[in-house]
């Protein structure tokens, strides 16, 4: 269990987070949502150990995060970052193998190869292992990095039982198929390996499908926290995201389905004037309007 207690963070005299409180359990997926600038990335940066000058405490399975060295943190959590910069050619195998670096000397090269092939297989990457990482598509790169994260946690599991995966907008810039594939893999990791996941997402519907717990941030504070059903309500979403929406039940999945309403329908003064290009268009009628 990760307990964030009264987490505050200032940068350049400006308060970015103020007295944040939430918990994230192992074996569950917690998704952090909020507008741009609400503090989502800052929270994640604090959890990843990038920022150490925060106030409040992050209690990590009973211990203060600040007591952990980078090496200790690497055993307890893996991070799937947003950017994938690489200036030299490295094979997919080499990139995945980096996950082993924390416990490098504990494994023979044969054991490492076995572990990597097993995980590559799990993520449908077996045929990619010899390819150049830079030649892969965005979705494939994300899967390779996720495989690296899993290897890191697997080798770290020698000493640590409960482990977490921190995801920074994992589906950003991926096509729909790759988004779904990646989310399936993440769900599977939680189910099979019992990992705890904390993810920053932008897409409310992906969040509703994925999350056990939603944490809504507004201006550096936790606005609402709870299950998707509890949190995803028109009034709350209006307050956090400044947008009207319609909440239905997803026709096939057991989760809420959010349809946002265009800004123009909310505030008629911003509705575009009926100009020559729009005059012959049939106005769209939204289900909510009827």
């Amino acid at each position: 269990m990760i307990r964030v207690q009264d987490l505050s963070f200032k940068r350049g005299g400006k308060e970015i987070l103020s007295k944040l409180n939430f918990q994230a359990a192992a074996g569950e997926i917690s998704v952090i949502l909020g507008k741009n600038g609400a503090g989502k990335s800052t929270v994640l940066n604090c959890l990843c150990g990038n920022f150490n000058d925060y106030e409040g405490t992050i209690n990590w399975d009973g211990q203060d995060l600040k007591n952990f060295s980078l090496k200790e943190q690497a055993k307890r959590r893996a991070v799937l970052a947003q950017s994938m910069e690489l200036s030299f050619q490295l094979s997919v195998y080499d990139v995945i193998e980096m996950g082993c670096y924390g416990q490098y000397d504990r494994f023979s090269s044969k054991e490492r190869r076995q572990l990597i092939e097993e995980v590559a297989n799990q993520f449908q990457l077996s045929s990619f292992l010899d390819r150049d990482f830079l030649s892969l598509s965005g979705g494939e790169k994300k899967r390779v990095l996720l495989a690296k994260c899993l290897i890191q946690l697997k080798v770290g599991a020698i000493t640590e039982k409960r482990q977490y995966l921190l995801l920074d907008e994992p589906t950003a810039a991926l096509d729909l198929e790759q988004q779904n594939l990646l989310l399936q893999f993440i769900k599977e990791l939680v189910r099979k390996e019992g990992l705890g996941v904390i993810a920053v997402l932008h897409d409310l519907n992906l969040a509703a499908q994925l999350a056990d717990q939603l944490i809504l941030l507004k201006q550096g504070k936790v606005h609402t926290c709870g299950s998707p059903e509890q949190v995803l309500q028109p009034a709350i979403i209006q307050d956090v995201f400044d947008i009207d929406c319609l909440i239905q039940r997803h026709p096939s999945l057991d989760c809420p389905l959010i349809t946002t309403l265009p800004y123009a329908e909310r505030n008629s003064t911003f509705a575009p004037a009926t100009g020559p290009t729009q005059g012959d268009r049939t106005p769209l009628t939204h289900p909510a309007a009827s």
């Binding site: 990843c48 150990g49 990038n50 060295s69 980078l70 090496k71 943190q73 690497a74 055993k75 893996a78 991070v79 970052a81 950017s83 994938m84 910069e85 690489l86 200036s87 030299f88 050619q89 490295l90 094979s91 080499d94 990139v95 980096m98 996950g99 670096y101 924390g102 490098y104 830079l134 030649s135 890191q152």
Partner: protein, 337 residues
């Protein structure tokens, strides 16, 4: 070590073997065997043990040091076109060597020539360490060194040191000018066992310590944060690599003068052939760099024999066209990716 490293080691041993034979005075393998078994005349003994062997070993050490440092700095800065020049090492060594040559020549040359040589080396070494420390301090803000600001600091410090060297060169007389020019051309001639006993330990220890950070350098290729997520103390790695590079390259060029392009060409050649994995790239760079400089020196002693071509001319002659080819190749690749 992998089989590839042994192959490169064999290349190094062979090129040193050939280097012992060729030069202004040619020897045969039989003569060399005679020297090893002590069955040769004094002149041959002296030539091999006191002139050619120290010189070839110095070339090998310097080649290894420059190539491995180049590979490490390229990885640290995640920039394929970086080399130790980027942290101000060369410009600082140059400035201090010019200071020694301009102000101390007249006093020291009267004592002995070798004392002058030793003083120039010491000055160049100090200059290399001082400037790279300065560049690191400027580029290191909030205790977090930023790659971009370090590169800019390196350029600024190099320009300033270059201006000071330029002024001293402008003020120098004919014979000083010649000495300075030769220093910038680089040469391993006049190598002695004394020099080797200083440069050898620094280069060997430095390369061994850099090799220990091979995995961290691999992880840094994915980004500094990514490396920290894997548990590496990125700032400590950065400080170590920069300090070790300054020590190794400073020691190398302080005795040989400026030898360009080794740190750039050798790691890239190996990347193209065998990939970027730093666990093998660093050691292989050292071995191939050593062979490259030994072979270049063999040519420099035979092309215009009995005279000698400064080795820096040869490395730049091979290195510069390779560098251009590399640039063109990268442009073409970026068009297609």
């Amino acid at each position: 070590m992998s089989s590839r490293s042994y192959l490169l080691l064999l290349l190094l041993v062979l090129s040193i073997g050939v280097g012992l034979l060729v030069g202004a005075y040619d020897m045969s393998w039989a003569d060399l065997w005679g020297v090893i078994t002590g069955d040769a005349d004094d002149m041959q003994q002296f030539l091999v043990w006191e002139i050619r062997l120290p010189r070839l070993l110095l070339a090998a050490l310097v080649g290894a040091g420059l190539a491995m440092s180049g590979a490490a700095i390229q990885g640290l800065f995640r920039n394929p076109l970086a080399d130790p020049t980027i942290i101000g090492i060369t410009s600082g060594a140059m400035l201090f060597a010019v200071i020694a040559l301009s102000f101390l020549t007249t006093y020291l040359a009267e004592v002995t020539a070798s004392l002058l040589q030793a003083t120039i080396s010491l000055f160049a070494f100090i200059g290399a360490l001082l400037t790279s420390w300065l560049v690191y301090r400027i580029g290191n803000r909030y205790g977090q060194s930023q790659v971009a600001s370090m590169i800019l600091a390196g350029i600024a410090v190099a320009a300033f040191a270059g201006a000071l060297s330029g002024y001293l060169i402008y003020k120098s007389d004919e014979s000083q000018l010649r000495d300075i020019t030769f220093w910038t051309l680089g040469s391993v001639s006049g190598a002695s066992w004394m020099q080797l006993s200083i440069v050898g330990p620094i280069v060997l220890l430095g390369t061994w310590l850099i090799q220990r950070d091979a995995r961290a350098l691999n992880a840094i290729l994915l980004g500094e944060r990514e490396a920290a997520y894997l548990g590496f103390q990125v700032n400590a790695v950065k400080q170590r690599i920069i300090a070790l590079t300054a020590l190794v390259v400073g020691a190398c060029i302080s005795v040989t003068g400026l030898i360009g392009f080794v740190g750039l060409v050798i790691p890239h050649l190996l990347r193209l052939a065998w990939g970027t994995d730093y666990r093998s790239l660093l050691i292989n760079s050292a071995l191939l760099g050593a062979s490259f400089l030994v072979i270049a020196d063999n040519f420099s002693r035979t092309i215009v024999a009995p005279a000698e071509l400064p080795i820096g001319i040869l490395t730049a002659l091979v290195g510069a066209p390779f560098f251009i080819w590399l640039l063109l190749r990268q442009q073409r690749k970026s068009l297609f990716i």
